[in-house]
Structures are given as structure tokens and as C-alpha cells.
């Protein structure tokens, strides 16, 4: 157990460079009227 650092997640965006891009997830808009689905808030559909 590290003493100074706690890592919160096991994310690796790098891995998704090759595997991602299927485009099956929901479109996301940042404008006020559409409740901005900032992309980071989405879940991958795969």
C-alpha cells in the first residue's frame, strides 16, 4: 500500500486508441439547451 499516493482509477485511455471508435454511444452536446453531455460523463457502450 502506497503511503503518499492513492490511485483512484485504473484508466488507460491509450488502450482505447486502437479498440474504440465504434460510434455506438450517444451523441453529446455541450450547449445549455441540451444539457451538455460533456463526453467524459458518458459510459462506453461496448
Amino acid at each position: 500500500m502506497a503511503k503518499h499516493i492513492v490511485t483512484v482509477n485504473k484508466a488507460s485511455l491509450q488502450k482505447t486508441v486502437q479498440t474504440g471508435g465504434c460510434g455506438e454511444c450517444q451523441a453529446s452536446c455541450q450547449s445549455a439547451c441540451k444539457t451538455s453531455c460533456t463526453v467524459g460523463n458518458q459510459v462506453c457502450q461496448k
Binding site: 485511455l13 451523441a27 445549455a32 439547451c33 460523463n41 462506453c44 457502450q45
Partner: protein, 452 residues
């Protein structure tokens, strides 16, 4: 910038931008990261060893090295996924079924519904053709989307119903799956429409600006009277009828309610739990947000984040869209770069069938891309939108938020800077603050879960 560190709510948080890893660190580690570059151990020891002791500094350095080895700190830059170079597929359309509205919201970018043009309703034939346009241009992609939008889409339920029936028929024929959404001010919801929207599994985006006085000031009826009481009543009915699922209640805040956390809480206390509020977009108007409002807005986001956490940990949660950051199974890099897809995968369709990059571009005539009958004619403009992703813009390339924000809103960039390649700075500052709050919230929840 490949690492971002900040302190909020007493937590020192470090984001490794390229991997997406998030770390909560102690004060010493936080300070060391101000100068540590992965190779300058001696300098770090020199700077911190005296005060904190060489042993503690070496411990920190050893932990940092482990993170570097695991590619969770100073991880290498990402390459642009090849899918961005391929021809775009259409996945989503926003149908402006009614360029008219029964409210007169001061801040409406649609100019109270008519988008600067005639008030008009989309005929069935245009909507039907729009659905076929998605199917013909979505290639192998299975999931497609239609958002019924306006003005106020409930003013044209005939076309909505007809379109949904057409979608269902075409789904059966083609194997495509459509997600349907409707964005409404709620005023025209009656029992018949509520039952219909529920039966057809149509997601709702309902507009309420929070407290009564705030809402009524910006969202009056055509006769000038307030709309709050009626909106709350109708929104409650539809949300109850769908067991609190499949909706968002969203509001807009302006210079008139910089204390917008109170509006979010007002909505939560009314019994709504899926919430969002967004900064208004306005130029040279009394309600516009400006640089001088930022300190107050930042403090308000922090305040909201704390209350959000408190209520969540106390078992009385509400969802605030921007804090629901998924740190574990978020979208792939391709999606993070493409963001909204406006102008290449996502289009808005006017009542006449004209295609625009998105709902906010409607009425900016030089951005008309074509129509649903002939398809996209300005293919060069479409490519410009596809290329305008976070790794292709100077500001975004250097920005720590690039994989969460995906390069910002093109419509705002164009409005404020005259080009989609230069993001709207005030929007960026708010975006980054929201993200810090979301990271703090998610880190706090993760640590709380660890303790259990």
C-alpha cells in the same frame, strides 16, 4: 500540459492527462510534483530533503516512479485514432419540428422559436425523409438518435407521432435501434401526451431554471406572466408517471443568478433527482456572463460539489450531470476527440429540411450544409468540422481538459471568435472548473467506498 494538479475540499488531486489516471496525494507529493519531471531526483531532494527529510522524499519519488512505470503518470501522448480519418457516418439528428414557441425566454438562441426566420412547423414528409437520411448514411452503425426539438416540439405532436411510427417501422426493416429524445418546456404536457411519451420510451429533457423568481424572470409566457408553477406541476406529473427515470431537468443560469447552486437545490427539493444547469450564452446583454463573474461562479460550483457529496453520502442523493464523471469506463479516445460530432455526424434539420451543423447553427446561413433530400452539399465544410477536434486546435492541444471537453462547443467558438477553431475562453474556464469539481467528487466517493 500532461499533468494537472489542484487542491479542492482539502484534497490534493493529480490527473495524468494522457492516461486518465487520477491520484489523491499528500501535501509533500503535491509540492514535489510542482518541480518533478521524471528525471530530476537530485533537484527534488535538494529542494525538499531539508524540510521533510531525505527518507520521506525518497519514498515519494519511489511511488512516483511506480506510477510512471505503470503509465499512470507522465504517460506518453496519444495518437489520433484512425477512425477520425475515415468518412463520417451520420448518427444523430436534431429535428426542429416546430420553429415556434409558447414561451418567450429572454436568452433563447432560437429568437423565441423562430431562429430569425418564419415561424413554421415541420411537415411529416420532411421528418420522414430525415429518418431515412440517417438510415442511409449511418453505414454499419446500429445505434442512431433523433431529438425532437424546437422551438417547442409539443406544438407539433402530429409530426412527432408520425415520425416515431416511421422510426419503429424502419427499425424493424433495417435492424437499426433509435434512441429518441424530446426537449420541452413542459407546458403542453397533458395526460395523453405523457402516456404516449412513456409508452414510446422517449427520453425527456425538461427545462426549469430552479427557483420561481429566477425562472419567471427569464422564462415568461407570451403574455408576460410567469411559467414556473405550471412547469413544475407538469414536470412532476410526467416524471412521476415514468418512475423518476429517463429524464433530465435542466436549467440555465445567467448573471442574474450567480448563486445557481440554490437553483439546483430548489429542483432537488421539489423532488427532481436528474439535474443539470448550464451557463447562459449571450453577448452584449444584461444577463451575459463575463470574466468578472468567474470568482463567484467558481465558488458556486465548489459549493454545489460539497452539497452534492454530503447528500449522496447521507443517502439523499441527486444527480448533477457534470459531476457524473465516469473515471473507470468512460468513452474511448475517438469519442473524446469527436465530442458532439456537430457538422459531420450530428446535424440539425429545419422545418424545411435544411441541414445545419447543429441546433445552435440554425439561422447562421453560411453554415447551411445541404438538405435531407439532396444530402450534404458542402462537404468541405463538413470536413472542417470533423477536423476541428481537440488535438487539432492550438488551445486544446495544450489544455489539461482536452479529453473530457473534446474541444468545446463549435457554436460558441464561432459566435464569440468567428471561427470553430478558436474555443470560447469563458466557456473553457467554466468547463475546467466543473471538471475539477467532478474529479474531486469522484475521488471522494472512491475513497469513501475504499474505506467501507
Amino acid at each position: 500540459m500532461n499533468m494537472h494538479r489542484f487542491t479542492q475540499n482539502g484534497m490534493h488531486i493529480v490527473l495524468d492527462v494522457n492516461s486518465g489516471a487520477v491520484h489523491v496525494v499528500d501535501r509533500l507529493t503535491y509540492d514535489i510534483l510542482a518541480i518533478f519531471d521524471g528525471a530530476n531526483d537530485a533537484a527534488v531532494l535538494g529542494a525538499f530533503g531539508g524540510e521533510h527529510g531525505a527518507e520521506a522524499v525518497r519514498e515519494v519519488l519511489a511511488e512516483l516512479r511506480q506510477l510512471i512505470a505503470a503509465e499512470q503518470l507522465f504517460s506518453p501522448p496519444l495518437t489520433v485514432p484512425s477512425v477520425l480519418a475515415s468518412a463520417p457516418l451520420v448518427k444523430s439528428l436534431c429535428l426542429h419540428v416546430a420553429h415556434d414557441c409558447n414561451l418567450r425566454c429572454t436568452y433563447c438562441f432560437a429568437g423565441t422559436g423562430d431562429f430569425g426566420h418564419d415561424r413554421g412547423l415541420m411537415p411529416r414528409s420532411v421528418a420522414e425523409r430525415a429518418v431515412d437520411f440517417i438510415i442511409e448514411n449511418s453505414g454499419p452503425r446500429r445505434h442512431c438518435e433523433v431529438d425532437f426539438f424546437g422551438g417547442e416540439p409539443l406544438l407539433n405532436m402530429d409530426t412527432v407521432r408520425h415520425t416515431v411510427a416511421h422510426v419503429r417501422r424502419r427499425e424493424a426493416e433495417t435492424g437499426k435501434v433509435f434512441k429518441l429524445t424530446l426537449t420541452t418546456n413542459a407546458l403542453l404536457l397533458d395526460q395523453d401526451i405523457i402516456d404516449y411519451l412513456n409508452a414510446e420510451n422517449i427520453s425527456l429533457v425538461l427545462s426549469l431554471d430552479g427557483r420561481e423568481a429566477v425562472h419567471d424572470h427569464m422564462r415568461p409566457c407570451a403574455d408576460g406572466s410567469g411559467s414556473w408553477a405550471e412547469v413544475v406541476d407538469k414536470a412532476r406529473r410526467v416524471v412521476e408517471a415514468r418512475q423518476g427515470e429517463n429524464y433530465y431537468l435542466r436549467g440555465t443560469f445567467t448573471a442574474h443568478n450567480l448563486d445557481f447552486a440554490a437553483d439546483v437545490l430548489a429542483m432537488a427539493d421539489l423532488g427532481f433527482k436528474q439535474l443539470s444547469v448550464e451557463p447562459v450564452i449571450g453577448k452584449d446583454v444584461d444577463y451575459a456572463l463575463t470574466e468578472e463573474h468567474l470568482p463567484a461562479l467558481f465558488a458556486e460550483y465548489e459549493k454545489l460539489a460539497l452539497i452534492y457529496l454530503e447528500r449522496r453520502l447521507a443517502g439523499n442523493p441527486f444527480e448533477f450531470f457534470h459531476f457524473n464523471l465516469n473515471l473507470h469506463n468512460g468513452p474511448c479516445v475517438a469519442k473524446r476527440l469527436m465530442g458532439c460530432g456537430a457538422g459531420h455526424e450530428y446535424f440539425a434539420v429545419t422545418p424545411e429540411g435544411d441541414l445545419y451543423p447543429c441546433h445552435q447553427f440554425v439561422g447562421r446561413d453560411e453554415y447551411r450544409l445541404g438538405d435531407v433530400f439532396a444530402g450534404v452539399e458542402k462537404t468541405e465544410l463538413r470536413q472542417r468540422f470533423r477536423r476541428a477536434h481537440a488535438l487539432n486546435k492550438a488551445e486544446c492541444r495544450e489544455c489539461w481538459a482536452r479529453f473530457y471537453c473534446s474541444g468545446g462547443c463549435h457554436a460558441n467558438a464561432q459566435l464569440f471568435n468567428g471561427t470553430i477553431d478558436q474555443p470560447y475562453e469563458l466557456g473553457c474556464k467554466l468547463q475546467k472548473k466543473r471538471l475539477e469539481c467532478a474529479l474531486m467528487v469522484q475521488a471522494s466517493l472512491a475513497l469513501a467506498a475504499n474505506r467501507e
